[in-house]
Symmetry: C2
């Protein structure tokens, strides 16, 4: 429970935009992850940067934790209020503040979702390219350094945030970065806050890079006899400099789940799903280059989709793969893993994971952003069977260890949250302690999202 | 002078690889910048990470500043030993440790130059794309977040360093990042050290992204009646998504200097110099697209160079533009400025700067990386005339203020060093104090390159 004084002061500031109701607290202590809900003591819906600063000052005076919340699409328990406190639901701060066509940038509030932003931009000739699948908020995507299917072409949130406004623990508001495309003026503060998972400050504005909507888009799909054939085709495609917009991998189990769910007719084999962005002539040339590479690596049945409806159908199936996999076992729950390895190790990492899953009591289709070496297993468990949850936890644990042994990272895009905290020492060594030193320097009283990212003090 | 004990301990460790000679000290206190040489008390040439750690521990015990030195190509006095101390010349740590063809990455020591790295890679089909013009070391390029002509396509050092080994102030060696192409595992420590100008630690290894050598390269040059025509052509080119490898701007004064120096025949007008990378068909299509855009914006005399010798001649002239400008006034010295603005403000920023220079007693041709909004004035002064140095300083000062007023940054790629320190408060506001807090958290005794980047304590 919040201190009475603090509740009174927040109520005076926010009126009905402060809630201590059980429903609001429960909703904001949960997410799409499998972690047990851990509700905050109260939820606030700020509307301005100044209001966030005022809330933070009040909470700081009462040593009350402050946790930022976007769309609740986190998969690693980022918003769990493990020490109680106040959750800031940023959903009312969802405006597009400005779009600069010539500079191809936009300034937005953190609560806008990526779909809403792209809807706003639909007639501008521009779009925001980072696509994690979920309709996350831009603030949440920045906080977790999100990426997804298009990162192979357009980069992650690290590459697409030009600047931020951030409320610090003492209520000061800083601006990081600028609208210049590059700068060498001191430490990269934008880069420090992107991926900090709400532990260093509250993001209240973002300046984002936009891209020109491609003149032409086409897609393709093809099957492979082996995972290594698919991965080798991807490696050669990237080495050739083909500017792929998407290169997605789905394994045979995922293909079968998609067949059942979406009425598709994929053969029971590993597949690559590809998207090309460019000029009309450019996407034709790209597709021809890739078709030749695919054929060299045992790819079969290269199907090329230039019609919008065929393309949309393909990516709709890909985006629904998670739901298709969930539907493949009635009543199940999914534990979604996330690791990323150097691409030369990807076939090994995926194959070893498949063998590991096959030897376990559960199923776990695999899919991923193969151009980046990033993949996920969707581990399906019956919530009533504790041995299945234990098996999933062990599989996820071995995936993380495997990624580290192969020179990779325990999370390519989902973030640390609760799930990857146990691996931070192993991944970073002494650099993890340095993260803790930075946290203490910027948020000395551990006000922001305590219990996350850095070592416990 | 170093403490006697410290000199003895360093000598025991390094033998002849420690020098206190006047010549070595003077060489390492100077650079290509106009700042007065400020030599260190001694110079060391370490050969291993472990040796750097041992040196740092010894220096820390004696509160002796430690300054990293690459090729000495800094333009802002980064390596000036303003509080004396020991300069580490990283030139002997210049090995390529490994190249991973499939993953398109390389692990190198910091003292290798970019030309040496690309020579090493020449038969691999890969190259390292960041090209600041000078043959800088990779360690120095990372420390200053360097970029240059190719950043519009391939990004800056921020985008091309995957990981680092760094010696901290207590002698610990940390590794940041991994060989995975992306990660959401905590704070971006690689990004924090890139651009920190040697103030947080000593970089002893870098893992770099490499790119595939393009199948085809072509170049073009064209003249414009006005700067705004040239800039508008660039804006439209980028909006169209043409993947330009280089888009360089030179003003009329630069064109004339190049004519005199290199025997070229550019009309006395602003020019764009362009480079296209892609497939054979792709570069033809790109050049045709750009030629049409250029014509729409008053571009004339679009000359397209597909032959290697013509292309090399063009970029040789561009790379020698600095020397051509220097040669345009006998006995002069150059003060090279560096600002970066949103591209929509570039024509205004360049035009106002030209007017400002024309009203001054000195000349200052302008050139820059127009795709990024980044430009330089090469301010030519007679070292014997103090009023010219004063005029140059005032012009540079107004350029920095103009960049900030237009939403830009006081340095796009040269870094802070001594020259841009006075603008850090104006550019960053309270975020500058936060940089200071990070410095104190990581280097509490101000051991590394003191007097740079962060506020004085």
């Amino acid at each position: 429970m919040l201190p009475v004084d603090l509740t009174a002061a927040l109520s005076a500031l926010l009126g009905p935009r402060l809630s201590v109701s059980r429903a609001d607290r429960d909703q904001h202590g949960a997410s799409e992850s499998h972690f047990a809900p851990t509700p905050p003591d109260a939820v606030a819906w700020p509307e301005t940067t100044e209001e966030v600063a005022a809330i933070v000052r009040l909470c700081a005076a009462h040593a009350c934790p402050v946790i930022a919340f976007g769309a609740g699409t986190s998969l690693e328990g980022h918003t769990s209020a493990v020490r109680g406190g106040l959750t800031l639901d940023m959903g009312r701060m969802n405006a597009v503040i400005e779009v600069n066509d010539q500079d191809m940038d936009a300034r937005v509030q953190p609560g806008i979702t990526r779909e809403a932003l792209n809807f706003h931009l639909r007639d501008s000739g521009l779009f925001f390219p980072v696509d994690p699948g979920a309709n996350a908020t831009l603030g949440g995507m920045a906080a977790t350094r999100a990426s997804g299917t298009t990162a192979v072409r357009y980069g992650t949130m690290r590459d697409n945030v030009l600047g931020l406004s951030v409320v610090l623990a003492d209520g000061r508001v800083i601006r990081t970065g600028s609208r210049a495309r590059k700068s060498s003026a001191g430490y990269d503060m934008t880069g420090l806050f992107v991926g900090s998972e709400g532990t260093l400050g509250i993001i209240t504005e973002l300046t984002l890079k936009l891209r020109g909507q491609p003149q032409a888009i086409s897609s393709a799909v093809c099957a492979f006899d082996s995972i290594s054939g698919a991965v080798d085709a991807v490696i050669e495609t990237i080495q050739m400099g083909v500017p792929m917009a998407r290169i997605e991998f789905v394994d045979a189990a995922t293909a079968l789940a998609v067949n059942a769910y979406s009425g598709a007719d994929f053969p029971p084999l590993p597949h690559l799903l590809l998207e090309f962005h460019g000029t009309e002539a450019g996407v034709v040339e790209q597709a021809e280059q890739v078709a030749a590479i695919v054929a060299d690596h045992g790819g079969q049945d290269f199907r090329w989709a230039t019609k919008t409806e065929d393309r949309n159908r393909l990516w709709d199936m890909r985006h629904k793969a998670y739901w298709a996999i969930l539907a493949s076992r009635a009543g199940c729950r999914a534990i979604v893993t996330d690791v990323c390895v150097p691409i030369s190790k990807l076939a090994q990492a995926v194959s070893e994971t498949q063998v590991d899953i096959a030897a376990s009591p559960i199923s776990g289709p695999i899919l991923g952003h193969v151009g980046d070496g990033n993949f996920h297993a969707i581990l399906l468990i019956d919530p009533a069977r504790t041995e299945e949850a234990a098996a999933a936890a062990e599989l996820a644990h071995r995936m993380a260890q495997r990624a580290l042994a192969l020179g990779g990272t325990v999370t390519g895009e989902h973030g640390v949250g609760m799930g990857k905290l146990p691996y931070m020492q192993a991944e970073h060594g002494d650099a993890w302690a340095l993260m803790g030193a930075i946290k203490r320097a910027i948020d000395p009283d551990d006000l922001f999202n305590p219990g996350k990212v850095v070592p416990a003090t």
